[in-house]
Amino acid sequence: MNAGVRAIKTPAEQALSAAYAAARAKLPGKGAIVELREAAFERFDAAGLPHRRVEEWKYTDLRALMRDLYPLAGLPDAAAQARAQNAGKLLAGVDCRRLVFVDGTFVPGLSDLAPEPGLAIGSMANALGKNDPLVTTYVGQTFATDDVAVTLNAALMGDGAVIRVSAGAALKRPINLVFATGSDKPSSAFVRSLVVIEKGAKAIIIESHESGDAQVNAALELVVGDEAHVDYIKVTQARALHVASLLTSVGARAHFNSFAFTSNAQVVRNQSFIRFVGEGTKASIGGVSLLRGKDHVDSTLLIEHAAGHCESREQFKAVLDDESHSVFQGKIVVKQHAQKTDAKMMTRALLLSDDAEADNKPELEIFADDVQCGHGATAGALDPGLKFYLMSRGIHEKEAEALLIQAFIGEAIEEIAHEGIREALMIAALKWLGARS
């Protein structure tokens, strides 16, 4: 493309450039990190926000959806911290180690920092500031991509969590990264976290976002070592704009399960970039999105089987009411040498309204010749035969629908191994259903 003919910048693009220019001297990091930021910003400056003619963003036109940039959030004061106290409520009943981030900034005072053998916890801003070798080794390296949301995050990343679980350690409790809005004015935050689970370690990592009127660009780099067992769960409720990128590399003979639960979301894009780099790994990648009103939820996956003998299962479900819009884009790439790959992807959308829209785009790109891969996609209304059966037994129409929707969602949520989290998400789903008029 000729750089000279790029379209005029939108107000949001101009604001992003201005925000970077104003913040660059204060953003944490030096040396290689500064180079990373500069290179990232240049890429963004050249490409601009993605729009519908960018294939990966076809159904989530960020240039149109992001009219303007909210001011970058400042450090949370006492009032902001107090407002954020109630965040993470959805999982309040689950015994977790909570690490709390208010407007993107780590707040140790609200966090559970009790020591545990094999576990190291830090803040990203700190780690960047002192050139922590863990950060310089992994940040920007876990899954390199030119995706604009990831690029913007690299340019403007402020704070986040840095977690390391040492080889062989098994965490006693799940870690819950709670990202909350404390500001009473619209604000934006660029958060970046790094989670390294070393060989043979076991951990459950929950990333919760309960955002108010905030624009959040979150990225989490997750390194799953050989023979590690990792469950990653993301819970998102966002009133304004939320774009999150999971960048993952999974080693050999590991068990990796990922699940995304999204509800009460105005505009959410969850993109997962997952690469299998070692043989013999089993992975389950799933999610449930509950949409109503004009909610827009985009689940985009890029699964790369770069090593053979791995099994991956992708199952995503969306329930759509009113005029909501769900997007599922799932691409499985099997590299030439990744023989005996077994990958199956399924996406289902349940449409409760004639005005809702579900776009499903599954893709397979296979370069190896001895693999088992498949995908399926459905979109449809509740089965009238099932509804009649339930109603013929005396169950009222709305209750019959609720039972069937619950069953539809439950099938996906049941995949979560941790009982407390599973129950909390089921309760959240029932609450969402209960609010259906």
Binding site: F388, M391, R393, L403, A407, F408, E411
Partner: protein, 251 residues
Amino acid sequence: MAFLEVKNLHVEVEDKKILNGLTLSVEKGQVAAIMGPNGSGKSTLAYVLAGKDNYKVTEGDVLLDGESILEMTPDQRAAKGVFLAFQYPVEVPGVATMTFLRTALNAQRKTRGEAELSTPEFMKLVRDTAGHLGISQEMLRRAVNVGFSGGEKKRNEILQMAILQPQLAVLDETDSGLDIDALKIVAEGVNRLRSPDRAMIVITHYQRLLNFIVPDVVHVLARGRVVKSGGKELALELEAKGYAQFQGEAA
């Protein structure tokens, strides 16, 4: 007036006329068999009584206990005592049989202004009833009809009927797909529910089922109306002579 009065009922499905002036009465305490060739409208009658969508009543009425039920939704009819044992019970993935039974029973009780059953009361009711029908606890924990054999699905229908205690039970080809042993279990379950307070309609193509559920009256349905009524011996006559005599008539 009989408990169930079907009066000159005309029904269309997708612009095709299926019931053609069907008139039928069933008293409480009575078991009425409805027999007829394929396409005579037997299952349509069952669905129209239960309130399925897409069945358009163009003429006539259905009165239950003197009240027309045609404007009622399926759940309202169920609360009024209508129960249909499906010819092909559907599988409901993700909804446990126990949950389903309890939701249905309590919904009906609520509609009728009765108190919901407590958990221990409900559990005892289900356990006792399931035992008679050879339905295990394991089956009750499974999703409704998912992975059930044909016989298990039919027994599950009878279990629901026994729990819900309807005033009008309609059994649509309950014998289809059952071997003789399964048929006996199902028939015993139905016979246990015969009561002076309940009207039953047993729809079947074959006489065989009526050896086990002996009807008080037999109605022959052809081309969407009742063409002959009689006692239980009428079923034997049909078994011997077939339906040809009725299909030819007035054609």
